[in-house]
Symmetry: C4
Amino acid sequence: MSHASQFDGLARELAEIARLCYARGWALGTSGNFSAVAGRDPLTLAITTSGIDKGLLEPAHIVEIDDRGRVLRGTGSPSAETALHLAIVRSRGAGAVLHTHSIWSTILSDSVTDAADGGGGARLAIEGYEMLKGLDGIRTHEHREWLPVVENTQDWTAAAPRIETTLREHPEFHGFLIRRHGLYTWGKDLPEAKRQLEILEFLFEAMGRKRGMTWQP
Amino acid sequence: MSHASQFDGLARELAEIARLCYARGWALGTSGNFSAVAGRDPLTLAITTSGIDKGLLEPAHIVEIDDRGRVLRGTGSPSAETALHLAIVRSRGAGAVLHTHSIWSTILSDSVTDAADGGGGARLAIEGYEMLKGLDGIRTHEHREWLPVVENTQDWTAAAPRIETTLREHPEFHGFLIRRHGLYTWGKDLPEAKRQLEILEFLFEAMGRKRGMTWQP
Amino acid sequence: MSHASQFDGLARELAEIARLCYARGWALGTSGNFSAVAGRDPLTLAITTSGIDKGLLEPAHIVEIDDRGRVLRGTGSPSAETALHLAIVRSRGAGAVLHTHSIWSTILSDSVTDAADGGGGARLAIEGYEMLKGLDGIRTHEHREWLPVVENTQDWTAAAPRIETTLREHPEFHGFLIRRHGLYTWGKDLPEAKRQLEILEFLFEAMGRKRGMTWQP
Amino acid sequence: MSHASQFDGLARELAEIARLCYARGWALGTSGNFSAVAGRDPLTLAITTSGIDKGLLEPAHIVEIDDRGRVLRGTGSPSAETALHLAIVRSRGAGAVLHTHSIWSTILSDSVTDAADGGGGARLAIEGYEMLKGLDGIRTHEHREWLPVVENTQDWTAAAPRIETTLREHPEFHGFLIRRHGLYTWGKDLPEAKRQLEILEFLFEAMGRKRGMTWQP
């Protein structure tokens, strides 16, 4: 397959995932952004452009960028969080990166503080659920998954290198939360990234609803 | 484009937004009303007629009115809240006005009282969320958005001038709540108004669910 | 229009409402039943037959019955709650009756007890919401709506006369709840009954979610 | 009808149920598995293969297996929980088995402990709801349904015989929960199993939401 038709295929898949996330309430308004690796040598990404209603996102709203975030194909500006997508792809060898703004990830990201957690920064623990097996490499529910919670910023170009380092040091991470902002997860390809997104969102909802109950064990 | 075909386009867009709001549970029964500026000189609005099931709303259910709420085109009565739509368009130069009755805006509107708030009337504060950046002109999550909460009435013609004054005095407002009733928001055009609606409804849901939890920080 | 084609039209409308209620989670499994008056003199009803998956309900699953619940047209057994539909039509002159089993009506029906309410039986009060204006004849949010809560039974033929009497004595009622069971509402025709169903379900959800919060005013 | 065309029919029905469960959020990611008896003598099952996105499940993703879980028709690996499907079919004479991972079954499964329950293992009681009548053989809401809660494991081949024994000893059970994992239910055929699934999920949601409220009776 030519590179151009491969890119077109990724653009169609990304547009479909964007509209699905919008329908589920995980990317309302123009929130959220989504990418997939279009080439490895040199590295290029297919990525959603900013300012598009995710419920109306079409393949034409996807651009191809190089490893510095410059647009190679298509029109529009790539997301302001492009540096994060590139950091994830570089540090994890990911083939796809999904970033959503859901109700439960927003709420859960605010439930963990550095102080309560001791050293190593804020992290959310998810433990003992069968659904954890939907995360790459997890074979049993007897597992404690940690999600780091990163403080929000408006300068991701400055913040991305620190996150890239954390992701290299912690190959066990499947995603991270940004406080009062949302979730980043990834996968070797778009189907794996989509699966991990659904798994993590399910677990956030289950934990969030449980914490709202007085009887919670 | 002729004025007539421009009006037809607005009517189609308004019908689509009405059905979307119905599907999301923000305009059940015949609740909610929606408008867009059809002409500026003289001012005319395309606006939903009252008594229509929003799930079945068609372009034929949109009328054009003048700046006194008189019907110029189409059949049916414009909403009893037409005076509010006109007040918003005049005070903010808005191109579109959306009014919804969602569960979370209804609940949140009832959580703020004058007493608790000191001077200036009841207001809901929303602070520190990334999604705030979906509101026009907001560039960072480090922002506190205020939504005034207006007491409900059945005489909006009488109440609209006071709201128009408030909106002129507070250009920073992106919407307001009516107690136990719902939300008004607007935008320079329908896509911007729709985006702000989704952003505000998301924030209401996140805040509402969090307040229901005993662990809320 | 012939009586037969009028019946066919009602059957199509009833099937559509049944599938909508299923999609909204108000008639899961084979729960819920729906009717509309097909003739007044003598009285006949178009009504859903029992045991049908509401998500798959077709016009062929609607039968016509007389005022004693005997099938005049079509095949299948009318609902075991047919006596209630007839009682409502007779006492209120309703043209359509909708009965749903939603999460929030089930929960709310269990929140009111005789003891707490004093005389007159268990009733749920709904007060001060703009959405109340979606109920027939209500012109302002400054209204307190009462919904009687009837104890559940498996012998509606025996219980229906008491309910018919209550509905004659209280023309102000727009519906009633059956404890841990669901809601009955009605209207002069199917669109009005559907509108009142959506209004009441909205109000149940708003009240139910609010009661789950510690900050509720 | 030939066995092959009967199998094709079951495969289509199973694919439809899988996609419905995905849409309702009961089988996100690749979670959940679904089967139906394809032959009785010898016993064969049509069953979903593992690792498939349930939102994209097609009839081609269904295989036919024998009573030891060996694939007779189609390609792909049957679920790791195949032993449970076979145990249910053998002990209950079920014609269809559905296994879902919903938010509310996950939360409810964690609300019951052996200690609180006395002898006989952990069980969830559901009592007094009209919706219970959607379970096979239940004629009145005045019924207490017990759902056993089984501890989760990653070796269902080892655990299945104990569950098979429990199901033979308790013909009154309509399903069981696996802790922090999900629900198994079944029926004489797929429509009955689907109905019972919807009934149980409804009851979990109603009970879960009620327990989150401080006013719960």
